[in-house]
Symmetry: C2
Subunit: 255 residues, 2 copies
DNA sequence: GAGTGGTCTAGACCACACG
DNA sequence: GTGTGGTCTAGACCACTCA
């Protein structure tokens, strides 16, 4: 019908048969993504209603709906019937469990507790620089913390953060904060993690980790290396966790 | 409009505010699931077109579409524009990678090869019985096999199957079959795996596994225990894999 | 009751595959 | 060209939340 936000076709021009065709709802999705990335709508806040967005973008409500559908499926937005559509947040316990796959072998759930151990500044070495798309020597912030399940130590994490964003993190801030680490990043630094890649291996326990986890030096630990991404696939955290898997395991569902 | 396949509301009757409301498209989805479970449409085959299903079920095409959308999102169906909608199959290499998360540390992909080692009958012990929802003592079939990446051994699997379904499996059949194990199950036994749960731990290598994987006895291995489910959440496979993670890792994406 | 998301419909048109 | 899935629209009505 009426003229839309942008041309329905982004000029093929080239020789390929259908190079860059993008349906309207994906263009709307892109616009919504831009709003999220720019921080115009913050985690936990409601975005405008479907009908208002439809008017604003000059498309039908169904088209807005399909854009939001996809973003809800990607856990970027959260729909609540009768209330509105909200920007996903790590304050939500569901997000917590999506990013922590350790569970007791016995089944059930146990109360978890994050114990920050250290926090210091350093310069990025080659590996961290590559993972976080930094230059070697760029400032980074490193956090070491222990994760306890039902009071028992289960995971030691070493977390590498770009100093440009997380330079102000201190051990005190971490200790004082009530909530998950990602919730902390969200509120204190305006960075929301939306996706992560993990690589798992089995490794022998080093002395320091063995002591922290109450296992014998050299006993097998589960090494979980993670790169977390914020909007626009920007890597903003690299971490390595060592999991004691005597009473817990890493749970994963394949579909 | 016209009368549909079933009542739009399944009589609340009780006192709860909205006990079992199920939208039309979910009822359609249930009907489609029944067709899949019954084997009326087999893996790889096309199901009737959306418009035909809409007529058959006396609903609009959009409603059928939404039902199929959900099933496609769950990897039960596969849509191919211009061709039709197909029952998902493990012949599809994409399914293979969804169920095998081992990748080279160096990145890239390597050719994989499954080497069946042994196949024998046994009776279900307490653990297997629980995992496969069998009775203790029920017949089971056990398969041991080695998974090689680029010619090198990386995973030893021990696979427990209910004898009632997989009693006819032999080492020769496994050796002769070209394709993945789940593809084999699909074609030879009509069982399609649609979902699996994995529990990962780090364990010391036993002598036999160490020899097969060319690692030292006692060195850390990644233990991956898996229960696979077919339609209607029926568990039909339990397996334990030991992964050598010196040159490979288990890759997982969190969203 | 007003506002929001959720469902369902009917119809038009587009993109793709295949003969 | 015919048939399939994919997009987009417009409108009606349902379910939920909150004031």
């Amino acid at each position: 019908m009426g003229s839309n936000v942008m041309a329905a076709k982004e000029a093929p021009v080239g020789t390929t048969p259908s190079p860059t065709f993008s349906p309207l709802y994906r263009q709307i999705k892109s616009l919504l993504m831009q709003r999220l990335e720019s921080g115009e709508w913050r985690p936990g806040e409601a975005i405008p209603s479907e009908s208002e967005l439809a008017i604003r973008f000059n498309v039908s409500q169904g088209t807005v709906r399909k854009a939001i559908d996809e973003m809800a499926a990607e856990n970027l937005l959260l729909r609540r019937q009768g209330k509105g559509t909200f920007v996903a947040s790590h304050d939500d316990p569901r997000a917590f469990f999506r990013f922590l796959r350790a569970v007791p072998l016995t089944g059930g759930i146990e109360p978890t507790e994050s114990v920050p151990l250290e926090c210091w500044r350093a310069k990025a070495g080659p590996e961290v620089a590559r993972m976080l798309e930094l230059n070697i020597g760029d400032p980074i912030t490193i956090v070491r913390r222990l994760l306890k399940f039902a009071g028992k130590p289960v995971v030691v994490d070493e977390i590498y953060l770009p100093g440009s964003v997380f330079g102000a993190v201190t051990l005190e801030m971490l200790r004082d904060y009530k909530g998950s680490l990602y919730s902390f990043f969200e509120h204190q630094f305006g960075i929301r993690m939306i996706r992560a890649e993990e690589r798992l291996r089995a490794v022998p326990a080093d002395r320091a980790s063995a002591d922290l986890l109450n296992v014998a030096e050299g006993s097998p630990l589960l090494s979980v290396e993670r790169v977390s991404f914020s909007y626009a696939d920007k890597p903003v955290e690299w971490r390595r966790g060592l999991y004691s898997t005597n009473e817990h395991c890493y749970f994963n569902e394949l579909g």
